[in-house]
């Protein structure tokens, strides 16, 4: 009964979103009464959809297994927390949540008052029709409300055990909030194009929305990386998995976008480029949804699927993209600006970095599609992995960091004054060189490209430190979020480089009470226990480790879950200041030995710390924008 109400409310909401879109088409969009009507219509559609979703959460909490999706992904033995998160553990439910978030962004935008009624109403219309497209996709091809007839099963099939983790509760929702958040700059830039008044400063209006979405995307991606590390036992932070890549592409595009937005506000250049970027960012976000949900790519993230869904999504995304690109091209002449970017100005460095980001995005797209093209042509499966991406990302990132460091000394709208002293730059270079030599002393030989990355990482960090110190001394304004985010980038490059040369792993075959040595660590297999838990059996091995005069215990587990018979590996991690000792237990061999995997992961915590610094800087930007408005 409640399932039917929830289903019905979703359908009704779709109809009202469609009505909102029609109102935007037929009414006089600059009139205030029409604006009020459109605003209310959107809000009602959203609230109905939200109630529908909340009812669905209630259905999951009350173990309503007559709903097929809940029966397949939840279980009455699960804690309430996982009953809720099980909603987004598979395709239908997560799509539901995805659309709720999409309409939530629109709702927040709808509440906010805009002086230009025409553009505001057009944006709401565009957002509404996008929501309608996805709601129809949900209701027609992936209906989460489907009922099991005639008998409801007595119990559900359980959530996938690797998803029984707090990180699942936040990783996908955060990521979705990031992806769909870019609907606001997308809709607003299209509305700006339709409106056709070039004096409107749309870049400034969408900045806080874009930064907010970027913050969510940043947090979502790093949470995924952290989760894969400790829960899935992947033992690293990034795997160039196709689905990681489809999250990385919009992130890169969005990073370029929020930088270029500032350029447009400051010096009225890159305006055409920003319009194109707003389309690219949102399309790449939708492309991510397509890749994950069409079943094209086998990956931990992909949902089991039928191609009908893929076709629908492909067609809908194609319509969105080609309509917006068509509009973009038809308004091309609106910006026939003869204003050129001066070389060696701040804009010029940001523009160059835009090109580098474009190259990274294009290469990543090639990395994802090349295996598919190959399969289509030769009917063989190949995979493009880390060597390809490393070979492209390392040198281009280094080039981009050089532009970044150069931009610190540059000014808006005029070239760098070469006669000026660059004492702070020279001091940072000198300190970084000393830093590199120190690291080299401990590490020994390293490849040239790694040396260069470590050096550039250090240069960024020290250059920004110098900047902050000098600004404090001279009582000048510091752009705190910029310094924080870029220092985070420096730390990220440094940590990734150090991690790549120092980290090592070894596989041992051990029996209880045996002792092995690995890189100054003594590992003793002290105990093996069998545990019976409520929903799984577990084998827990306890190891006594000693290194650098310290002794501690680590207990990795292997679990077998009853409901699905799935076996998972629970890692045990000792966090030390500069490294993690990471232990997993594998199969038991015929001679009674167990396969033990030991990894040393250097600087891995700093990778996530750097992502946190970037996200925090985004939050500071938003706080500043809001404070200025009030």
């Amino acid at each position: 009964m409640i399932a039917d109400i929830s289903h019905y409310l979703s359908i009704l909401s779709t109809a009202i979103f469609m009505l909102t879109f029609s109102l935007v088409l037929v009414l006089d969009r600059s009139a205030s009464h029409a604006t009020l009507l459109i605003k209310r219509s959107y809000s009602h559609a959203f609230i109905l959809f939200l109630i529908s979703f909340l009812l669905y959460v209630y259905l999951a909490l009350t173990d309503n297994f007559s709903v097929s999706y809940i029966a397949q992904h939840s279980n009455s033995l699960l804690p309430n927390f996982y009953k809720v998160t099980s909603i987004w553990s598979a395709h239908e439910g997560s799509m539901f949540l995805w659309i709720v978030f999409l309409s939530l962004w629109g709702f927040a935008f709808n509440l906010h008052n805009d002086s230009n009624l025409n553009v505001k109403n057009l944006s709401i219309g565009i957002i509404s029709i996008i929501i309608v497209g996805f709601q129809l996709f949900l209701l027609v091809t992936s209906n989460p409300f489907e009922i099991v007839l005639p008998f409801a099963p007595e119990n559900g099939a359980d959530i996938n055990p690797v998803l029984q983790d707090p990180a699942l509760a936040i990783h996908p929702p955060t990521l979705y909030l990031g992806y769909v958040g870019f609907v606001i700059p997308f809709a607003y830039s299209l509305a700006f194009l339709i409106n056709g008044n070039k004096s409107l400063d749309w870049e400034k209006k969408v900045k806080s929305w874009s930064v907010m979405a970027w913050v969510f995307l940043t947090i979502g991606i790093s949470l995924g990386s952290w989760w894969a590390y400790y829960e899935l036992g992947w033992g690293g932070y990034w795997f160039w998995d196709p689905v990681e890549n489809v999250a990385l592409m919009p992130w890169l595009a969005a990073t370029a976008f929020i930088h270029s937005l500032s350029v447009a506000s400051k010096s009225n250049v890159l305006r055409i480029w920003n319009l194109l970027l707003s389309i690219i960012v949102f399309s790449l976000s939708l492309f991510g949804a397509f890749i994950v949900r069409s079943g094209i790519i086998d990956s931990i993230h992909s949902f089991a699927n039928d191609p009908q869904r893929g076709m629908y999504l492909l067609a809908f995304i194609a319509i969105i993209l080609f309509v917006s690109l068509g509009l973009f091209i038809s308004r091309f002449s609106m910006f026939d600006s003869s204003k050129n970017i001066k070389s060696l100005s701040k804009e010029s460095f940001i523009s160059l970095n835009n090109i580098f980001f474009g190259v990274l995005i294009f290469s990543t797209m090639m990395g994802i599609t090349y295996p598919l093209i190959y399969e289509l042509l030769y009917n063989q499966k190949i995979s493009v992995g880390a060597p390809f991406y490393n070979a492209i990302y390392a040198p281009i990132t280094i080039l981009a960091t050089i532009m970044l460091v150069a931009s610190i000394d540059s000014k808006w709208g005029r070239p760098i004054d070469v006669k000026r002293g660059f004492s702070m730059l020279y001091i940072s270079l000198a300190i970084s060189l000393i830093g590199l030599i120190t690291i080299g002393y401990f590490v020994g030989n390293m490849p040239f490209i790694i040396m260069l990355s470590i050096f550039m990482g250090l240069v960024i960090i020290f250059r920004y430190l110098m900047l902050i110190i000098s600004n404090i001394v001279h009582k000048k304004y510091t752009n705190t979020p910029s310094a924080l985010a870029h220092a985070g980038l420096g730390l990220l490059i440094l940590s990734i480089s150090v991690n790549s040369i120092l980290s090592s792993e070894k596989v041992f075959n051990m029996k209880p009470n045996e002792i092995r040595e690995f890189q100054n660590i003594t590992i003793q297999f002290s105990e093996l226990e069998l545990l019976n838990k409520s929903n799984h059996d577990s084998i827990r091995a306890t190891f006594s480790l000693s290194t650098e005069g310290k002794q501690f215990y680590l207990s990795p587990e292997k679990r077998k879950y009853f409901a699905r018979g799935q076996i998972t590996s629970e890692t045990a991690i000792k966090i030390m200041p500069l490294k993690d000792i990471y232990l997993t237990i594998g199969e038991q061999l015929d001679n009674g030995q167990w396969v033990i995997n030991v990894q040393l992961n250097y600087f891995i915590r700093f990778i996530w710390l750097s992502a946190a610094m970037m996200a925090l800087s985004g939050l500071i930007i938003i706080k500043n924008i809001i404070r200025r408005r009030v």
Partner: protein, 176 residues
């Protein structure tokens, strides 16, 4: 120059989209479908109902092998379609997978039995030999050869797109 820019902005995404269109509309674009041929592994399993032993040589002609279990929710979803197939005289051999015997018998009593014969594979040994990763999965067997394998729930669409073309093309008359 500007024209070139304008066209390339449209052409590049167009190429990408047409490529994905081609990829999706490819014949075997069902990720769960596999058309590798291999001979039916030899086995000797108990009949679920009377514990009599059945070996691979006893099963002749063309038939489906459906992997199912009473603990499997998707099998429950699939069951209605299997009954339809049975009504249309499609031969289905049930392979009861890692399941308790009484649970399985009760389950079939409750929901109906579309199977010509049900083998009880308690340890999942035959399923392992056939490359089963879970339930439900369905194989098409012709003259002791496995000619198609589908991982996941079969329904009308999967049946028409994955199994029927093969049955028609090879002229497996006794399947239909």
């Amino acid at each position: 120059m500007k024209l070139l820019l304008k066209t390339s902005i449209l052409i590049i995404p167009f190429i990408i989209f047409s490529f994905f269109y081609l990829y999706l509309s490819k014949d075997n674009s069902y990720p769960g479908a596999d058309y590798k041929n291999f001979s039916l592994p030899s086995f000797e399993l108990k009949n679920l109902y009377d514990d009599s032993l059945i070996s691979n040589s006893a099963l002749k002609g063309t038939y489906l092998v459906n992997i199912w279990a009473s603990w499997c929710i998707t099998c429950r979803v699939e069951h209605g379609f299997l009954s339809q197939l049975d009504d249309n005289n499609i031969r289905i051999v049930g392979l009861n997978y890692k399941d308790d015997k009484d649970d399985a018998i009760n389950w079939l009593a409750k929901y109906g039995n579309p199977y010509e014969v049900v083998l009880h594979d308690y340890k999942g040994s035959l399923a392992l030999d056939m490359g089963v990763t879970g339930a439900p999965e369905t194989f098409l067997v012709h003259d002791q050869m496995v000619v198609a394998h589908y991982r996941g729930e079969i329904n009308k669409m999967i049946w028409n797109d994955v199994f029927m073309p093969l049955i028609k093309q090879e002229g497996f008359a006794d399947a239909k």
